[in-house]
Amino acid sequence: MQAATVVRNARLISGLVLMAFVTGHLANLSIGIHSLEAMEAWRAQLMDPWRSGVGQPLLLAAVCIHVAFGLYAISARRSMTLSRADVVQLVLGLLTPPLLLNHVVVTYMADQVTPDFDSAYGMLLAIYWKFSPGYAFQQLFVVVIVWIHAALGLYSWLVLKPVWRRVGGFVLPALFAVPILALIGFAEAGKEVLAKLASDPAWQAHITDNITSIVKVTSKMDALQAQILLTYGALLLLAAGVFAARMLRDRLTPVRIVYDGGACAQGRRGLSVLELSILNDVPHAHVCSGRGRCGTCRVQVDAGAQALSPANDIEQATLARVSEGKPVAAGVRLACQARVLGAGVEVTRLLPAYADASAARLPQDWLADDAAPARDPAP
C-alpha cells in the first residue's frame, strides 16, 4: 500500500470510530427526552465502553490520527479547489478541536485530577443550565459542528457505494434525527435539572461542592488546555505554511492542457487535471471532489501521457472497480489523481459534467458507449 492509501484509509477509519462515539453520546443525550434518570442509566451501555481498557486507547488513537492526518491532508493539497460541502467540512473540522477541548478536559481530565469529582449528567447539565451558561453555548455549537462535519464525511463516502441504494433510505433521516433528538433531550433534561435544583436543596449543595472542587483545579486544566491548543495551532500553521510554500514554488512553472472540444486550461505545474479544469471553469464531473473514490472524473489521455504523474494505487483500485471486471482500458486515468508535470497533455472527458453519485454506483450505465464524447449528453 502506498502512503496516499494509508492516509485515506486511516482518516476514514478513525473518522468512523469517532462518529460511532459521537452517535452513542448524542443518543445518550436524547434519552433526556424521557428523563434524567434514564439518561444516567443508559450511560453504562452507551458511554462506558469508551472508558474501558480497549475503548479508551482506541478513542484516543482515533482522535490523534484524525486530527493529524487531517492536517497532513491540508499540507498535501496543491490548490484550494474545493466544493462548497468540502469548504464547510474543512472549516467545521478545523473549528472542532478548540471548541471541544474544554468539554473533553472537564469530563475526562477532571475525575483524574480530582478523584471525588462527580461527572454525572445531572452535574454537567447543572453547570450548563445554571452556573456557567457560556459553556452551554459552546457545547451546543460543537454538537452541531461536529455532527455536520461527520455527516458530510459519512454521506460523501457512503453515497458512492452500491450499498447506498439499500441503506440510504435509513441513513439519511438518521443523520438528521440524531442531532435533533439529542438537542431536544438536552433541552428537556435541562428543564428537569433546573426544576430539581429549585426543589432539592441537598442536591444543590452537592453540586455546589462539586463545582468548588473543580474550580480549584481550573488553573491546572486551563494550563493543559492552553498547551494542547498551542500545539494544535502550531501544527495548523505548519500545515498551512507547507501548503502555501508549495503553491508559491509551483506557481513559477505554468502548464497547459487541452480538452476534447478545444477547451484548454492553464495553471501551476503539479496540479491535477481536475484541479486545472475547476480553476479554469472547464465543466468536469467530480462527484467525490478529487478524493479518487468515485471515478467520475476519468479521462482518456490522447497525448502527453508521459507528462502525467504515474497512477497511484488509489487510482488503480478505483479504475479497476469502475471497469467492473473488464481490464482497465489503456490511456484511461483519473483526472483528480493524474498530476500534470509537463507540456503537451490532451485529454477527453469520459463522463458528462453533470454525472452524479449514481455514476459511481453503476459505472456502466454512464458509459454505454465508450467512444461517445463526454460533452454531448444522451437525449
Binding site: Y128, W129, K130, P133, G134, A136, F137, L140, V143, V144, L172, P173, F176, A177, P179, I180, L183, I184, F186, A187, G190, K191, L194, D281, P352, A353, Y354, D356, D376, P377
Partner: protein, 645 residues
Amino acid sequence: MTWLMRSLCVGALSLAASAPAFAAAGEHSLAALSMGALAETKARIETLAGNFAQAPGELRQLTEQTRKSMMSGTGVRGFTYLLILLLVGAAAEWLYWTYAYSPLRAIHATPVETPLQALRLGLRHLLLRVSGMLLFTFAAIGVSAAFSWPAGMHELVIALTLLLLSLRLSWVAVAIIVAPGRPQFKLVPVDPRRARWLAATVVVALSLLAFGQFVPAILERAAEARHAAGLLRFAAYAAATLILLVGAFTLFSRPSGPSGAAQMRLPIIPRSFLLALLVAAVFVAWVMSERVAAVTLIVAIVIALQLGLRDMVYFYWRGDGESGEAQGALPAIVLSLARFVVVLVGIGAAALALDTPLTALAESVSPWVRIGLRLLGVAVLALLAHGVWIAVRSVVDHRLAGIGPVDPHHTPDASSRLLTLLPLLRVTTAVVLMVMLVLSSLWALGIEITPLLAGAGVLGIALGFGAQALVRDVIAGIFFLAEDAFRVGEYVESGTNTKGTVERITLRSVALRHHNGPLHFVPYGSLGTVRNQSRDWVIDKFNLPLPIEVDSETIRKMIKKIGEDMKNDPELGGLLLEPLKGKLYRVDPSVKIFRCKFRSPPGKQFDLRASALKRIEAALKKLGLGFADGRQTVLMHPPAATPPA
C-alpha cells in the same frame, strides 16, 4: 419618427412615475413645500447626529442586557431551540433535494444555445431552488410553534428565519440571472469576466440592505434601543451605497480599447456615471427624509431598468452581438410593453410606499396630482400609439424586406400588389396615428377639443371646396387601389391616351413610365378607363402570306409541328399558355394567307412571335418553299416563238 415616439414615451412615463410623489406633495404650494422639506431634512440630520452620540452607550447597555438574559437557563433554551429549528429546516430541505436533484441535474445537462432557452431553464432552476428554501422556512417556522420560547424570542427567531430566506432568495436570484462561471446560462447581457464580481456586489449590497431593514427594527421593538437602531441602519445603508457606487464605477465602465463600432458612436453620458448618480441620489434622499427615499428609490430603479431594458430585451433576439437591427415586430413590442410594465409597477409601488390609495389619487384636487395623472394618460396613449406604429412598421418593413428591392421594370408577380400597397399603408398609418395621438393627448390633458374639431370641420369644408380635385383624386385612388386596377410594374393604358409602366403610387397620383422614356404623372381623377396590359394572359395573332401553290394542309401540319416543338423547348415551353396554331385564313390573288395565334403571359408575346417566325422560316426552307414574294407571274398567250423583248 420612431426616435421621437420613443423619447416621448420614455419621458412621459418617467414623469408619470413620479405622480404619486406629486400627490404626496399634495395640497401645498411649492415654496411651502421646499421649506417643509428643508425643515424635515434638518430634523433628520439632527437625529442622525444624535444617534452617533448616543448609540455607543446604548449598544453597550444592550450587549450587557443580552448577555445577562442569554447567560441563563432561558437563554440556553432559546439557543437550543433555534439550533433544532435550523436542523429541522435543513433536514426538510435536504430530503427535498434528494428528489429534486435529478431535475436540477437535467437542467445543468441541457445544452443551451439561445438566451430564450436559458431563460426557460433559469426559471425552472429558480422554481426548484425557491421550493427548497420555502420548505426550509415553513418547516422551521412550523416547528417553532411546538416549543415554549422564552419571552420575545419567538418573534425574533421568526424574523431571523425570514431574513435568512430573503438573503438566500436574493443570492439565488442573482446567481441565476448573472450565472457566474456559466456564461451560456446568463439571463441578461453581462460580460462573463465581470459576472462574478457583479453577483458578489449585488448580493453583498442586498444583504446589507436587508440587514438594515430587519435588524434595527428588531432592536427597536425588542430592546427599545432607538439610537443604536438608527446608527445600525445608517451604517448598513451607507455601506451598501458605498459598495454599489464602487460597483457602478468598476463594473459598468465601458471596456476600453478600440472597436470599430464603438468609435463611430456619438459620445454619451457613461452608464456607470448615471448609475452612480442614481445610487447617490437615493442615499441622499434617505438622509433627507424616509418618505422621499422610498419614492426616489423606486424612481431610480425604474430609470435604471429603462436604461438597460433595451439591451436586455434585444439580448433575447440577437444574443450578445451589437449588430443587427431589424428583428421583426416582436422585440420592439416586447420592449415597449416591458417599459410600460416597469413604469406601472413603479407607480404602484410608489403608491404603496406612500400609503396613497390609487382611488384617492384619482379624486385628489391638488393640481400637481392632476397634472401627474394627465401626463400618465398621455404616456399611456403615446405608448399605445407607439405600439401600433411599431407593429405596423415592422410588419410592413419585414414584408417589404422579404420581397426584395423594388424594380418597376421587371415582370410584376404576385407580390407586386403588396409592393404597391405596403408603403402607402405605412405612411397613412403614421399620419393617422400622429393626428389621433395629438388629438387624444390634448383631450387627456383636459383641453377641450370639440371646438377644435368643429373648427377643423368648417375649415375642412372650405378646403374641400378649394381642393375638390384633390379630394376627387384621393378618393378615386382609393377605389383604384381597392379594386386592384394596377400595381407597381404593370403596363397600363389610361383613357386619356397615356400609357406606360407603373413606377410609383402615391395618395394622389400614379407615375407611368412611357416606353420611350417620359414619365407621366396622372392624377387618379383623370385616369379614366384603365386598360391593364399586364394581367393574366395575351393572345398574339400574326399573318403568314405564302405562295398560292402551297398545300394548305401541309402548312397547317407544319405550323402545328412547330407549335409542339416550341412547347417542348425548355426555354419557351413554359411561356406558351396555348401552343401555336395556324390555319388558312384568306386567299388573295396569288397569295394564301395563313393566320397563326398563340397565348402567352403578358409581355412575352413579342419574343415568342419572333422565335416562332424564325422557326417557320426555317421549316419552309426545308420544304423548298418561301414566303409569298408578291411578284405577279404574267402568262403570255400563246407562247411566242419570238424572244421576249
